[in-house]
Symmetry: C2
C-alpha cells in the first residue's frame, strides 16, 4: 500500500474498468438546440461503471440507481482560485471513483506512510456499482464573494415560499451540491466522504442525506418503485427514452440564459417528511382517493393499468368526479400546468426516529428541469394549496442548484464554463 | 385489493415462497447442551427467504445481510395480556414478512376499503431479500410492570459505565428491540414500520437506526467487509461454521440462567461515532499502527495475509513490539480476555451531518454472546481504557437485550418461554 494511490481494481484483480454502457454521444449540435442528443449513460449491470465524460452530466437521465448520498457544501475559502483548484481536484477524483478506482493522487498527500492516505479505503474491493456524481451550484454561490453575481442565471431565482412548508435553514440551500447515486450505499458514501476530505479547509458539509429505494424510474427499462406511503411513484416521470421531451423539459438550451449553463439543468430538492403513522391509520379507500390511484397496481381510479391515462372528466354514479378535484394525480398532472414536466429522481429516507415515538421518514424529492420558474414553482404552488396529500406530509428542506453541462474530457472540470 | 390481505407474491406472480436455504435443524439435543446444532439459516441468493422457525432465532448466525434497520420500543401498555397479544401478532407478521409476504391479517383491521390496509405497501413486488427479524428484551422490561422481575437473567445485568463513553439516553436502552436485516433496505424498513404500526398504542418507537455495509462476516462464505475507517473489520469474528465455538460463546445453555433463555443469546448494541474527518487526516502509518493491521489486505503487521495470526511477541529493529501495546488488534484479541469471543454483526451508518460541517458517521456495533458479563464487559473495559483507537471514536449509545430462543412453529411466539 505504499507508493502510488490504491487502485481498487489493481488491488483486487477485478480487471480493467471497461465501460459497459457505451456512451452514444450525439454530435448533431444545432444552433439553439445544442447538446440535445442523449448520452446513454447507464450501467449494464448493477456493478458496472457509468461513463463520466459527456455533454451532459451523468446521474440525471442515468437509470436511477438504488441508493443516494446527497451533500450540500458551504464554501469557506474566500479565494476564487482555491475554489477552482478544488473543483479541478474534485473532478479528477470523481472521474476515478465513478470508474471503480480510488479517489487518487493529486497534490501533497498520499503515496507515503507518513502522509494521510489519499483514499479513505472503505470502498476497496467494491466495484463501481453504477456510481454517478452530479454537481450543482446554489444561488448563494453567486452572492458576490467570487465575482459571479453577473453570471447568475435568472432561472436560479430563489424559490418562493409555499403554504404549509416548514423549512429548516440548516438542511436547506448550500453553495455547492453533489448527488452521489450508486447501487451500493457504501460506494455512494465513500465518494461523498472523499470529496469532503479533499475539500477540507475550503468547504464544509452543510448537510447530507442518505436515501434508499428510489421513488421514480428514469428509464422505461425500470419498473415503477413505491414510496413510503406504499404507492407507486413516478409513473408519469420523464424517461431517458423521451428524447424530445427531455429537450423541451430537462436540458437548458442555448438562449435560455447565460451560455455557461447550455447543456445543463436545474435541480430542486425538497425533503418531505411523511407522517407515516397517521397515514398507516387512514382507510385504504381514503388513501386511494388522495392519490387518485389504486394502491396495488398503481392504476388511476378511472382505469385498469398503471399507465392508463387518467380520465379527469369521468364522473361516478353520484355525479362527482371519480378522481377528486384535490387528488394528487390530478394536481400534479402536466395537463394542470400547461404541459410542464419534471424528471424526478427522489429517494425514500428513514433518519431513525423523532423522539416522539415516530419514524423520521419520508421522501427526499429531487427533480431536474430546464427552468424551475416554469416547472417546479407552478406545480408546487398548486400542490401546496390544494393537494389532499398535504394532510400527511410536510416539506422541511429546500434546495435549488444550477447543474452545469457535463465534463467533456480529462482536461475539463466541474464548473469550467462558469469560472473559466 | 379488497378481501384478504395483500400477498406480495400473489399480487406480483413471483411464485410460491419456496425455502431455498433449507434449515437443517439439529435433533440431537443433549442434556445440558440443548439446541446446540445450528440451523443453517441462510438465503441461497440475496432475494431468497431465510427460514423463520427454528431452535434459535434467525438473524444471529445467518450470513450477515447487507442492510439493517434496528428499532428499540418502549412498552406503553400496562397490561401484560395486551403485551403478550402484541408479541403473538408480531410473530405472525414476522413469519409472513420474512417469507416475502405482506404483514397479514390479524384482527379488526384490513380486508375492507373502509379500514386501514393491514400492510403499508412499500414492499409490494419486492422479494423476501433475506429478511430476518430478531427480537430481544431489555433489562427495563423486567422492572416489575409485568411481574417479570423474578425472571430477569443475571446475565442481563446493566452494563457498567466505561471510560470515555458519552451515552445519550434517548438512543439507549429500550424494553424490546427488533433487529431487521435484509439485502434491500426497503424490505428492512417495511418490516420495522409494520411492527410499529401493529404495536400502535401498545409500544412506541424509542429510537431506530439504519445501517448499510455490514462490518463483519458471520460465515466463511463471506469476504471480510470494511468499516468507515477503511479497515477490514471482523476478521476474527465467530462464524456460523464454528459449531463448537458457537456453543461455548454464543448460545445460552441449560443451567446458564433461567430456563426461558435456553437456546437464546444476549445482544449488546453500541452506536460508535467515528471522527472520520480527523481520522482521514491521520498518516497511513499511524492508522495501521492503531489497528495493528495493514490497511490494504488487513494482514496483522507481523504477517502477510488477512488470516495470519498476529504475533504479539514479535519485536522490530528498535526492540519495541511490532504490534503496539495499545493496538486495537492486540486489545480486542481473545488471548487478552481468556479466550472470550463475540459474534459481531455491526453495520456502518451515516446519519447525515452534525451541523458542524462533519459527517455524522460511524459503526452501529452489535454483538451476540452467551454472557455479556464474561464477554463484552471485560473486552470493552480493556478497550475503553487502553485502545489507541479511542482518540477517533466515541460510544454514544448502548443497549443490552436478552434474545430468547427461536420460534419453533406457527403455534409459538416471540417470548413464549418468558411469558407462558
Amino acid at each position: 500500500m505504499s507508493g502510488a494511490g490504491i487502485s481498487r481494481r489493481r488491488l483486487f484483480g477485478l480487471g480493467a474498468a471497461g465501460v459497459a454502457g457505451v456512451a452514444a454521444v450525439g454530435a448533431g449540435a444545432v444552433a439553439g438546440r445544442s447538446l440535445i442528443e442523449e448520452p446513454v449513460a447507464h450501467a449494464a449491470t448493477a456493478s458496472d461503471p457509468v461513463p463520466f465524460y459527456g455533454p451532459h452530466q451523468a446521474g440525471v437521465t442515468t437509470p436511477a440507481q438504488d441508493r443516494l448520498h446527497f451533500v450540500a457544501f458551504d464554501v469557506i475559502t474566500k479565494e476564487k482560485a482555491e475554489l477552482v483548484e478544488l473543483l479541478q481536484e474534485w473532478t479528477a477524483a470523481a472521474a476515478r471513483m465513478t470508474q471503480g478506482k480510488d479517489a487518487g493522487t493529486f497534490g501533497a498527500v498520499g503515496g507515503s506512510p507518513e502522509a494521510p492516505p489519499d483514499d479513505t479505503g472503505e470502498a476497496l474491493g467494491l466495484p463501481a456499482s453504477g456510481l454517478t456524481l452530479t454537481v450543482g451550484f446554489g444561488p448563494s454561490l453567486f452572492d458576490g464573494r467570487f465575482g459571479l453575481a453577473g453570471r447568475k442565471p435568472p432561472a436560479l431565482a430563489d424559490l418562493p415560499a409555499f403554504p404549509g412548508e416548514d423549512l429548516q435553514p440548516e438542511i436547506s440551500g448550500g453553495d455547492i451540491c453533489v448527488q452521489a447515486c450508486a447501487h451500493d450505499p457504501q460506494v455512494a458514501v465513500h465518494a461523498i466522504r472523499n470529496l469532503a476530505r479533499i475539500g477540507f479547509g475550503k468547504v464544509s458539509v452543510r448537510y447530507s442525506q442518505l436515501g434508499f429505494g428510489r421513488t421514480s424510474s428514469t428509464s422505461r427499462s425500470q419498473a415503477t418503485p413505491r414510496n413510503l406511503m406504499g404507492f407507486k411513484d413516478g409513473t408519469n416521470n420523464l424517461k431517458l427514452e423521451d428524447t424530445a421531451m427531455l429537450r423541451d423539459h430537462l436540458w437548458v438550451a442555448s438562449g435560455d440564459g447565460p451560455a455557461w449553463m447550455d447543456g445543463g439543468t436545474y435541480l430542486v430538492t425538497r425533503k418531505i417528511r411523511m407522517h407515516v403513522e397517521t397515514w398507516d391509520r387512514a382507510p385504504l379507500a381514503e388513501q386511494e382517493a388522495i392519490f387518485g390511484r389504486d394502491k396495488g397496481k398503481g392504476a388511476p381510479l378511472t382505469g385498469h393499468g398503471e399507465f392508463d391515462p387518467p380520465d379527469f372528466a369521468k364522473k361516478g354514479p353520484d355525479g362527482t368526479p371519480v378522481i377528486a378535484g384535490n387528488a394528487h394525480v390530478r394536481l400534479a398532472h402536466p395537463d394542470a400546468h400547461g404541459g410542464a414536466r419534471l424528471l424526478r429522481r427522489g429517494y425514500n429516507f428513514v433518519d431513525g426516529s423523532d423522539g416522539l415515538g415516530r419514524l423520521d421518514a419520508g421522501l427526499f424529492f429531487m427533480a431536474y428541469q430546464r427552468d424551475p420558474r416554469k416547472q417546479f414553482v407552478p406545480i408546487q404552488r398548486m400542490l401546496s394549496q390544494k393537494d389532499a396529500l398535504n394532510e400527511y406530509i410536510k416539506h422541511v428542506s429546500s434546495g435549488l442548484f444550477a447543474c452545469p453541462p457535463g465534463v467533456v474530457d480529462g482536461g475539463d472540470y466541474w464548473g469550467r464554463t462558469l469560472f473559466a
